[in-house]
């Protein structure tokens, strides 16, 4: 059962990797899509059969060192099964989308091989039952991300972007690995269920050294999930093909950090100060990246910053122990952000590679399917009811409010308004207004995944209908995710119904006002006389993104240039020293090899004598 879930992408990868030079390019897409679909169907079948009951699968012993023996075994519970469904489902749709989006590319087989390998590694990551096995998947997806960002390796800028992503992730991974060792050093186990059980039964907050482990693991998560301080690689990662941005850099891989933190939820709950730090890091990231998104002119770059901002929401939610709300938003965000990226891909495809939103406009009529599906995705991202984003974001906001973190609540609320602003700006500039570039016709092959994802985006809210609403509905649907993820977040968020309704109405109403205002502002395009005070206020608001950009370069300086310094001063120089030593050895040895038979005979004699002496001595 487990093998038929996890192996098909690996087999697809192997087949495509072996025949990467084959002239039958069309076949590779078929192999990749069927492998991915097979996994998805298995996951669905398993979910229906087992009803999300936890079970573990032991494959074979991995290694044995001292008294530690590690098994290659997997754990399927509600959390990992949900992640599997998201990964394989979205990946199948994106594979199908890639069939027509990438059909004219040269390295099509290579592309599909990487994509399948990514799905396999991601499944290993979410199904692993121990930290080292998770780390295998963690590194594997990082590798695939690097390979796919630099897919067009002939353009230097894109390979640079791939390298940046890889190196920044490396920094995070180093921290993550240290964190794993810290945990193991103090607890003596790598297994997730054992770690969580240990934290559940005993209180560890007194031991100060263990305190470092969750911090280090969180730093690893910031690398993978693009949070401050390691977030600047994600916008650059958009250099890869758009379906890759949708799958890896929006829907699945970047959520790995969140998954890890939820997986270790009991470890984190033992350290409330660390959780508070996580929440504040998330809040800063959410606000900063939303501000940058307001000031960006690249279609994919806006979506990338929006992704960082939404991921930051997940971390804020984790920071207040709202683990199930975090996973809920992770799922809905996976759907609608994949949808938005694929729509961006369709638009860019129709405009033959144009990404600047200033050169777009009025695409509503010429790209009807893209327009409609995009609107569903955008409305979900802006948390407009009844789309899925509304439910998940509202749950996060409510958990912030009810746990009395009013400062965090305010930041998240304000970021939500900024989200409405920049998404409306993007929509108005791309789909409304005057048409500036004549697009090609929509390709029918691109439309099916868009529609499927739009349906998922519109409907996935039913996974977590708040009690406030479900009480009014005829058959009172339960909050499905709370039921499934009971084990991970024991804490329930309670408050008066009046407050809950107030939060919900306030965020929705202000969101709608911002959407309306921004739409008006960007559509009329300065024809209306804006009051000068408002104009000054707006312009000064745009200075903030510049400040944020400055901070971004500062971060880049600090982390990357420090890394470069170390590389130049330590690694390069020690390497140069080593090389010069080897070169000087070369002159010695080349003198030995002088072509004279008698000197060779002399070496032979010396060698023989020395070995005879050694034999007699021993």
């Amino acid at each position: 059962m487990l093998l038929s879930l996890i192996l098909p992408p690996l087999i697809g990868f192997l087949i495509n990797a072996l025949r990467f030079n084959s002239p039958h390019k069309k076949l590779s897409g078929g192999i990749a899509v069927s492998a991915c679909l097979f996994s998805f169907l298995t996951a669905v079948f398993y979910a229906l059969k087992s009803g999300f009951a936890p079970s573990s699968f032991y494959l074979f012993p991995w290694f044995k060192v001292g008294n530690l023996s590690l098994n290659f075994s997997f754990l399927i519970d509600s959390l990992s099964l949900l992640m599997c469904l998201l990964i394989t489902g979205v990946a199948s749709l994106i594979h199908i989308y890639s069939l027509s989006y990438m059909s004219k590319e040269e390295g099509l087989t290579r592309y599909f091989a990487y994509l399948n390998l990514f799905v396999f590694m991601m499944l290993v990551l979410v199904l692993a039952d121990s930290l080292p096995l998770l780390f295998v998947g963690w590194e594997g997806v990082g590798l695939c991300s690097y390979l796919l960002i630099g897919f067009w390796f002939k353009e230097e800028e894109k390979t640079q972007a791939g390298l940046l992503a890889f190196i920044v992730n490396r920094l995070g991974d180093a921290c993550f690995l240290l964190g794993i060792f810290f945990l193991f050093f103090h607890l003596g186990t790598f297994n997730f269920s054992e770690i969580n059980a240990l934290f559940k039964s005993e209180s560890y907050s007194s031991s100060s050294a263990l305190f470092l482990a969750p911090i280090l693991i969180f730093l690893g998560a910031t690398g993978k999930s693009a949070q401050i301080p390691l977030y600047f690689w994600l916008p650059k990662a958009m250099a890869g093909p758009t379906p890759v941005s949708a799958l890896i850099h929006a829907a699945t891989m970047v959520t790995a950090g969140v998954y890890l933190l939820v997986r270790l939820s009991f470890c984190y709950m033992a350290f409330p100060q660390v959780l508070e730090g996580i929440a504040w890091v998330g809040a800063m990231t959410a606000l900063g990246s939303a501000l940058i998104a307001c000031n960006s002119w690249d279609f994919k770059s806006v979506l990338a910053y929006s992704t960082i901002s939404q991921l930051a929401y997940l971390f804020i939610a984790i920071g207040v122990k709202a683990f199930s709300a975090s996973i809920f938003h992770l799922l809905t965000h996976g759907f609608f952000k994949a949808l938005l990226f694929l729509c961006a891909g369709s638009v860019i495809h129709a405009l033959s590679g144009e990404q600047d939103i200033r050169k777009m406009g009025g695409l509503k009529r010429s790209l009807p399917v893209t327009y409609l599906t995009y609107m569903i995705g955008a409305l979900a991202l802006m948390a407009v009811p009844p789309f899925s984003g509304f439910f998940s974001k509202d749950e996060i906001l409510w958990s912030l409010f009810s746990s009395k973190n009013y400062a965090l609540f305010f930041i998240a609320f304000f970021t939500g308004l900024l989200t409405c602003f920049y998404m409306t700006r993007l929509t108005a500039l791309v789909f409304f207004g005057k048409q500036k570039t004549k697009p090609h016709r929509e390709e029918s092959g691109l439309n099916f995944p868009l529609i499927a994802l739009a349906v998922l985006t519109a409907l996935s809210g039913v996974l977590g209908i708040p009690h406030l609403i479900s009480d009014f509905l005829p058959f009172q649907p339960p909050h499905i995710l709370h039921e499934l993820l009971k084990d991970f977040s024991p804490q329930a968020f309670k408050g008066s119904k009046g407050q809950e309704a107030l939060v919900m109405l306030l965020s929705t109403a202000t969101g709608l006002v911002v959407i309306g205002g921004a739409f008006f502002l960007f559509l009329t395009n300065k024809k209306i006389p804006i009051p000068s005070s408002l104009k000054i206020a707006l312009e000064s608001a745009f200075f903030v993104p510049k400040g944020v950009l400055y901070i971004q370069t500062l971060f880049k300086r600090i982390s990357l240039e420090a890394f470069q310094r170390i590389e130049i001063n330590f690694f390069n120089q020690s390497l140069a020293f080593l090389i010069s030593q080897i070169l000087s050895l070369k002159t010695v040895f080349s003198k030995l090899q002088n072509g004279n038979i008698q000197s060779y005979a002399l070496y032979f004699t010396i060698g023989l004598t020395v070995s005879m002496i050694l034999i007699f001595l021993t």
Binding site: S590, N594, G595, N596, I597, Q598
Partner: protein
């Protein structure tokens, strides 16, 4: 007697002689420049080995040793034939038998 203190080593005198011969031959191979003298030194080394073998065979009572000795002498003769033929070819080709001039394998 003069050799009284060494009487325990009496049986080993041929071995020392063989060792001396071997070292003389080895020095010749390593030091002399003339190809023919090197070949002669090689023969000397082979003779030393034969003597060594025979004396150890006598000490330890190994009866069938002379059979092996004849084998080695045969092979030494064949080797001398091949070696001399090679030396003649080398002289015909390069007009010299100086081993130092024959270093074409250098680099």
């Amino acid at each position: 007697m003069l050799l009284e203190p060494f009487s325990a080593l009496q049986n080993f005198f041929p071995v020392f002689l063989a060792a001396g011969l071997f070292f003389i031959g080895m020095t010749g191979v390593l030091m002399r420049k003339n190809l023919l003298i090197i070949l002669m030194s090689l023969e000397l080394m082979l003779g030393a080995v034969n003597l060594n073998f025979l004396s150890f065979a006598k000490i330890y009572g190994f009866e069938s040793a002379p059979v092996y000795i004849f084998f080695i002498i045969c092979i030494a003769a064949a080797e001398a034939g091949v070696g001399l033929a090679l030396a003649v070819r080398v002289y015909k080709k390069f007009k010299t038998v100086d081993i130092e001039a024959l270093n074409f394998l250098k680099e």
